[in-house]
Structures are given as structure tokens and as C-alpha cells.
């Protein structure tokens, strides 16, 4: 058994080394395929992260009447907390609102800034949620509270159309992205199968000879299947290294904002951070997929000859 395994590995090595160009082409195709799929997946993921950033930045602001009792204001906060859907509730007092207002107006219109009275500005809650649907739910509750109030709530600021647009964008981009990834994957796997089939085709005479001198199917197919798996491993490995280098360049230049002016537009949005462990996990999964796809492609291609 060990002897057989050792020989199958030896034949695999000979196939790969003595077919230099074909091996190179197969590895190149594998690398390219995994690279394109990975780039696409990361892009879709990053767009989602960016959209979620905007999603999390969306807020509802409830303005209270400047004379509203603090107990009422706190009861509204409790109503919001009870929904369990708010991720952050920030109270902006009259004093804080005035300071913020003054800061903005002093540079733009100092005269107006002096004219505004502290008591004219309303206290408010700035409410954030983790998802847009939660934001909508809270907005609906607040509208109800406002309807029941006796003038304690002045206004509710909630940009429904912007929120709805974002919500739609997230769902469209996610479904188009997943659809495209599936489509790309299918096309790529077909390309991989064809490439490996071409490699095996170049060995068709060898396969016939091996069978004529008494090789079993395992002896004939083993090296080809391992060869396919090997191309998968190397392809994933190389594409992962290239991707990681690209990620490093983009993430450092993004922070410094020197690479592309367009990146500065996104300043403030946290770009997805990947820990080494997560990256290794992703590479591990990709290598597993590479092995399976390479081996299956070889198996499909070689079975044609084994049936003869």
C-alpha cells in the first residue's frame, strides 16, 4: 500500500516536472480563476461593509420641546431601549445643542450666533441602529409616541427615502453580487475542467500504454487526480499571496490616503480588517476548494479514458 502510494506520488512528480509548460499553464489558469473569484468576492464584501457603514450612520433625531420635563424625555428613552433595536442613543442637551450651533455659526454667521438664545434650542436624542429595518421600526414607534404627546416632542428627523434607498442598494448589490459570484464560479470551474482535460489529453497515449502493460485504474488515474489537486493548491496559494499584497498596498495607502484621490472620498469608513487567523482560515477553505475542484476535474477528464 505504502509502496503503491509512493509510486503514484513519484509518477505525479514526473508528470508535473516533465510537462513543464502544460503544468505552468494549468497553474496559471487556476491562479487566475481563484484570483478573479476572490477579488470579486472581496469587492462585494467591501461594498457591503461600506453600505453597512452608511446604514449604521443613519440616525433618527427626536427633538423635544425646550420646556419638556426631563422625566418625559427619559420615558421616551426607555421606550426606545425597550424595543431592543437601538445600538446607540445619544442625548444632546440644550447646552450641548447651543455649543454645537455656536461652533458652526461663529465661522459662518457670527451675528446670527449672537442673536440665538440658549433656551431656543431643543434638546434631542440621536438614535442609531445596526440595521435600517430597526431604524424604521424605531421611527414608527416614535411617530406613535409623538401622536400621543402633548407637544413635548417637537419634531422627528428621519430621512425615509435615503434609508429606503440604502436598504434597496444593500439588497440589490448583495443579490447581484452573489449571483455573479455563482456565475463566475461555474464558468471558472468549466475552464479548469477543460484545462485539466487538455493536460490529460496530452497523456492519452500514455494512458493507453499503461493499461496495455497491465496498470490498474488506480495506477493510471491516481497521478492525474493528485496532479489536479496540486494545481488547485498552488493556484490558490499564489492567488492568495497576490491578493494579500494588494490588500496591504490598498489598506496602507488608504490610511495615508496617498494612492488615489478617490480613496480619500471614503475617509472615515472603516475598511474591512482581517486578522491573520481569519485570513488563514479563508486560505484554508480556498485550498480545500482548490483540491476538490482540481481532483474532481481530473477525475472527470480521466474517466473518459478509463471506460475504454
Amino acid at each position: 500500500m505504502m509502496l503503491k502510494a509512493e509510486r503514484i506520488l513519484k509518477y505525479t512528480y514526473q508528470h508535473i516536472v516533465r510537462n513543464g509548460w502544460l503544468s505552468f499553464a494549468s497553474i496559471a489558469i487556476m491562479t487566475l480563476t481563484f484570483f478573479v473569484i476572490s477579488i470579486f468576492s472581496f469587492t462585494v464584501y467591501s461594498v457591503n461593509v461600506i453600505l453597512h457603514y452608511y446604514e449604521s450612520k443613519s440616525q433618527i433625531i427626536v427633538f423635544f420641546n425646550p420646556n419638556a420635563p426631563i422625566s418625559y424625555i427619559q420615558s421616551v428613552k426607555k421606550d426606545i431601549i425597550d424595543t431592543g433595536k437601538a445600538s446607540n442613543i445619544k442625548y444632546v442637551s440644550k447646552q450641548q445643542a447651543f455649543t454645537n450651533f455656536e461652533k458652526v455659526l461663529k465661522t459662518q454667521n457670527p451675528q446670527l450666533a449672537n442673536a440665538v438664545d440658549l433656551n431656543a434650542l431643543p434638546p434631542s436624542y440621536e438614535i442609531s441602529t445596526t440595521s435600517l429595518s430597526n431604524l424604521e421600526d424605531i421611527a414608527n414607534i416614535l411617530y406613535k409616541v409623538k401622536a400621543q404627546s402633548k407637544g413635548e416632542i417637537n419634531n422627528i428627523l428621519y430621512f425615509k427615502s435615503v434609508v429606503q434607498f440604502l436598504k434597496k442598494a444593500v439588497s440589490i448589490i448583495t443579490s447581484i453580487g452573489i449571483g455573479l459570484i455563482i456565475f463566475l464560479s461555474i464558468i471558472s470551474f468549466v475552464i479548469i475542467i477543460i484545462t485539466i482535460a487538455i493536460t490529460i489529453n496530452s497523456h492519452s497515449e500514455d494512458i493507453e500504454i499503461m493499461k496495455l502493460v497491465g496498470a490498474t485504474d488506480t495506477y493510471v488515474s491516481g497521478p492525474f487526480i493528485i496532479e489536479g489537486a496540486f494545481y488547485g493548491i498552488i493556484g490558490v496559494f499564489i492567488s492568495s499571496i497576490i491578493l494579500y499584497l494588494i490588500y496591504l498596498v490598498i489598506s496602507t495607502s488608504y490610511r495615508k490616503s496617498v494612492l488615489l484621490p478617490i480613496l480619500s472620498f471614503f475617509q472615515g469608513i472603516p475598511i474591512p480588517q482581517y486578522s491573520i487567523l481569519l485570513l488563514l482560515e479563508i486560505i484554508g477553505i480556498e485550498i480545500f476548494i482548490g483540491i476538490v475542484i482540481g481532483a474532481i476535474s481530473s477525475f472527470i477528464a480521466i474517466s473518459r479514458y478509463l471506460k475504454k
Binding site: I209, M210, Y219
Partner: protein, 224 residues
Amino acid sequence: MLTFKNVSKNYKNRAVLDNINFNIDEGEFVFLVGHSGAGKSTIIRLIIKEENLTSGSIHFAGYDIEKLNKKALPFLRREIGVVFQDFKLLDRKTAFENVAFALELSDHTNREIKKGVDYILDMVGLSSKSKFFPNQLSGGERQRVAIARALVNNPHILIADEPTGNLDPSVSWDIIQLLNKINSWGTTILMATHASDVVNSMQKRVIALDEGKIIRDSEGGYNE
């Protein structure tokens, strides 16, 4: 050892072998002669079960070839050494590796393989070219590698299908001498050929075929 009993083979209703009967005993040297298309190669393909017969039976060294399943086929082939007109060597393997491959299939140890291959390459006169790839060897040398590969497993029978068909007359003669030597050591040989001078000079048993039928089975030259 090898028996054909009422063997017929049809391709799309056309009979290429018609009721073939013969028996070859251990240690014999038999020529299978006839024009192209007479059915020589079909007989060889039936023995190694590269094709299935239409009717009759073939028995070889305890195997009923027709009843052999796909799993047992490799084991039959390891007991038959076959030499082809076009050599059928693995181009990406050296002479040594080509011969060793046959032994590796039957799970010999690396030490046994080295010893066996070195011995057989020496016997066919190629020990100095064991690291050469087939495309670095002449036609005669390639055929010697093929003979070495066919012999290395110590087969019951060595079947040669037009082994000199692609070779110069002088090289052909060397190959025939080699096969004769192998036969003298006890290996049964069945050689398909239409080289009348070779058959005439050897004066061995000749099975002559014409249009799929045996027209002669006796010792002597090509046309006797």
C-alpha cells in the same frame, strides 16, 4: 497454454476472424503470418482483451479470457509480454523507467526493480542508455526497450505484433535474433509478421491467415 477454440470476430457483420482453432504449447516459437487485414492483429488484440470476441473461447494460462472482468484484466496483461510495431513506449519516461514501470505495477520492491531492470537492459544490450528518453534512441533501441519491458515480468508468453515493421533490415535481424535467444531460454513466443525472409530463415511453426481463416498451421517457411 494458449488455446483458441472456434473463435470468430465480426466488425459490423463483417467477419474478420472466422472459426479460428489453434493451440500453442509452452516454449514454442510461432509465426502468425498473412497479408495486411488477414486478422493477425485482431488475434493479438483478442488475447490481451483489447477487444471482445464474437463467438468461441480463448484460454490462456488458466484464464478464460472472455469471462475475465474489468478488475482482473490488468493481472492477465501482466502475464503477457507484448511488443508492438510502434513500440508503445512512454515518451516521458526514460528507458529504465519504461521497463521499471511494468515491475512497479506488480508491487516489487525498489531494490528488486533496480536489479531486474539492470539485468534485462543488459540482456537487450542497452545498459549504457538506461537514462535516455525514447526520443533519444534509435528505432532498434526503442524496440529493445519494448522487448525488455515485455520480458521483465517473466511472462508466460511474449507476443510481438510486427516488431520489425518499422525497422531497417539489419536492425530487424538483430531483434529476431534477440527473440530467438529469449525463446531458447524457455519463453513462448508468438510473433505476427509479414516479413517472409525472417520466417523463411527461422523455419519455425507458422500459422498462416487469409481473410480471417487459418489456411495453414505447420513448421517451415513463409509459403510452404
